[in-house]
């Protein structure tokens, strides 16, 4: 996957979106895209534009998420749901290998099945940023996770820029959105533009594979007007972020406030349920478990998502390291925003806001950071209590 400079820009009228899906389906084993399931927008298999949540609007607040069918004709008038690319490149449960015993000998078999190629339509800029973070975690440091790599290499990413950020979004603060800007390499980027009696997408290619794909689409020439419209829309989106996080000196602030009384206040509200870490697109912690056959003839090792909010996560000889919920929340937030930088050279948060929306009690990382930074905090009903 070589990153190349944007080489082509063109216009895909909305009617051409089906052609894009069809082309993706022709070239990939599965095509995923946004689809409503269980009252939320998820990454699901799609085969037609009819599968897309057209006109659906998402409402986000701390601990609250609702979908509404709106009047707009837009295909991507919402932001991220609870799913992220994490579950695609790093499955929640994966049997890594198994072992068979015969006498005193054992034979090991790799259990991770080869995966097919996956095209994903509607990947948001914060998702690309999260993927770039995950690449550092799973492929950097000289220790490669082969399970991650084989999934990661078979992705074809069709990004969609965010023109209508949610109340929980703060990608502008993190420099990861709302436009496609850095992050992991992508293949195609779409910007959905409605106006002047036209509805369609500004399409750019970010890779050779993307350029090849563009050649197969019913594209039109993109005039300067469209590029300008995109810039205007992105600038407006950057200004309408529901939340902000000041990253200036953030690492030092967290390191300096290990004993801040605010941690206790957060712990009073925190359920230690681990939802924030599960929905976080960069949280990568896992547990490995051995399963044995009752007669001891075979065993298998399975990897499952784990969380620093789970007590057993820090169980070592002598007991649990982080017994209090306060210490667990502090660990999570300090790692995400501060020590992640020392460990991986990037901040662990991409500003997607999932941890705010999907926290059942609406604990808000931007607000908790602002308290530690000594900033006045916006109070907005649910997020404070």
């Amino acid at each position: 996957m070589t990153r190349i400079k944007d080489i082509a820009t063109a216009y895909l009228p909305a009617e051409g979106l089906q052609a894009l899906i069809d082309t993706l389906r022709q070239h990939h084993d599965r095509v995923l895209g946004p689809r409503v399931r269980e009252q939320a927008i998820r990454y699901e298999t799609i085969s037609s534009v009819a599968d897309l949540p057209r006109g659906v609007k998402d409402e986000h607040e701390g601990g609250r998420y609702r979908l509404h069918q709106g009047e707009e004709a837009t295909f991507f008038g919402f932001v991220v749901g609870p799913d992220s690319l994490k579950s695609i490149v790093y499955p929640p449960r994966l049997t890594l290998w198994s072992m068979k015993r015969s006498g005193h000998e054992g034979t090991i078999e790799d259990q991770d099945e080869p995966v097919g190629s996956t095209a994903i339509l509607g990947v948001r800029p914060c998702e690309l940023a999260a993927l770039a973070v995950q690449d550092k975690v799973f492929l950097g440091h000289g220790f490669e996770d082969p399970h991650y790599r084989q999934r990661r290499e078979r992705l074809f990413l069709v990004a969609v820029e965010c023109l209508q950020p949610g109340a929980h979004c703060f990608c502008d603060s993190m420099g990861t959105g709302p436009g496609v800007n850095g992050g992991a390499s992508w293949d195609l980027a779409l910007t959905e533009l409605v106006g002047d009696g036209r509805h369609g997408f500004l399409v750019r290619a970010g890779s050779d594979a993307g350029r090849e794909m563009m050649a197969k689409l019913p594209l039109e020439q993109a005039g300067d007007g469209l590029e300008k419209a995109r810039e205007t829309a992105l600038a407006a989106a950057a200004k309408s972020m529901g939340r902000t996080l000041d990253t200036d000196g953030l690492k030092k602030t967290l390191y300096d406030h290990v004993d801040h009384p605010h941690w206790e206040k957060v712990a009073d509200r925190c359920l230690a349920c681990a939802n924030c870490t599960m929905v976080c697109p960069t949280c990568f912690c896992s547990n490995t478990m051995e399963e044995t056959a009752l007669d001891g003839s075979s065993a298998a090792r399975t990897r499952v998502w784990d969380s620093c909010f789970n007590l057993d996560f820090t169980y070592i000889h002598g007991g649990h390291v982080r017994r209090s919920v306060k210490s667990r929340y502090r660990q999570w937030m300090t790692h995400k925003l501060a020590s992640w930088q020392d460990q991986f050279g990037v901040i662990g948060c991409v500003g997607c806001g999932r941890c705010i929306t999907w926290c059942p009690v609406g604990i808000d990382i931007t607000r908790e950071a602002a308290v530690l930074q000594g900033k006045p905090t916006k109070t907005s009903g649910r997020t404070t209590s």
Partner: protein, 264 residues
């Protein structure tokens, strides 16, 4: 690797105040049941077999709660005959649904229910087995999960720790890809304060968790109740939410009592 055994371990299944549903989970194991019987001798299991082999027993599974003076004696005898004692189900680990009596006056109940209450010999409270004897491992659930039961037997056979997590149900919801019913649908859900084990069954069908597996490792019940009340649940509803199969589990009991009108 398991040490070479000269004989198969003897398994006994005991019943106290309960509905038998957890014992049935063992019979419900079907395919695994044959594998289990291949590794252990089922020495005492009246629900399944008339065969009865005298103790002592290597592994005792105890279902049900202690509700009568007779049972309070009997459990000690069982403990004395058992090398390893594992309690199974909400009754055995928390007193069960019948522990709702603990919040009322059992004498009054017997007067109302039975024509001749003088013949009823019962304790004031329904309590967990661990309140009476030392328990080696508690397997939660109403009913227990058969997979977890097999895992406990399996771990026992191989001398390892059972992989029975004590974290929240939320982790199971997210691993299976179920969207949070509390956040996406505004349904009060006990998942954040309940121990995993069921595989997040109810949220997968767009229902809130009922708390069948009892309190998770560090349950912040006041925070959960706060969220329930913001979703429109009244105090009475909150009390009822905590008072089900695990009503007398410490964390749930304390939280329901905190919402009683006299404690405001």
């Amino acid at each position: 690797m398991a040490a070479k055994r000269t004989r198969k371990p003897k398994l006994a299944v005991w019943k106290f105040a309960s509905c038998d549903g957890c014992q049935l989970s063992l019979l419900d194991c079907e395919d695994e049941l044959l594998a289990v019987t291949g590794q252990v001798d089922i020495a005492y299991f009246p629900e399944a077999s008339r065969e009865y082999i005298r103790g002592p027993y290597d592994l005792s599974l105890v279902e049900g709660s202690i509700t009568t003076p007779h049972d309070a004696e009997r459990i000690h005898k069982i403990r004395r005959q058992s090398k390893v004692l594992v309690t199974i189900g909400a009754c055995a680990t928390a007193g069960g649904i019948q522990a709702l009596r603990n919040f009322g006056d059992v004498k009054e109940f017997t007067r109302l229910v039975y024509p001749s209450p003088q013949f009823i010999e019962t304790l004031k409270k329904s309590t967990a087995i661990a309140d009476h004897v030392f328990v080696d491992f508690e397997l939660r659930g109403c009913p227990i999960s058969k997979e977890q039961l097999v895992e406990v037997i399996n771990a026992y056979l191989h001398g390892r720790k059972p992989a029975v997590p004590t974290h929240s149900v939320c982790v199971e919801c997210k691993r299976r890809g179920t969207a949070c019913v509390m956040v996406a649908s505004g349904i009060p859900c006990m998942g954040p304060v309940t121990q995993a084990g069921c595989g997040a069954l109810c949220p997968a069908y767009n229902r809130g968790c009922y708390g069948c597996f009892g309190p998770m490792e560090t349950p912040n019940t006041p925070a959960a109740s706060g969220a329930f009340s913001r979703l429109g649940m009244n105090e009475d509803g909150i009390i009822r939410t905590y008072r089900s199969f695990n009503a007398y589990a410490e964390a749930f009991r304390r939280e329901s009592e905190r919402h009683e009108p006299t404690n405001h």
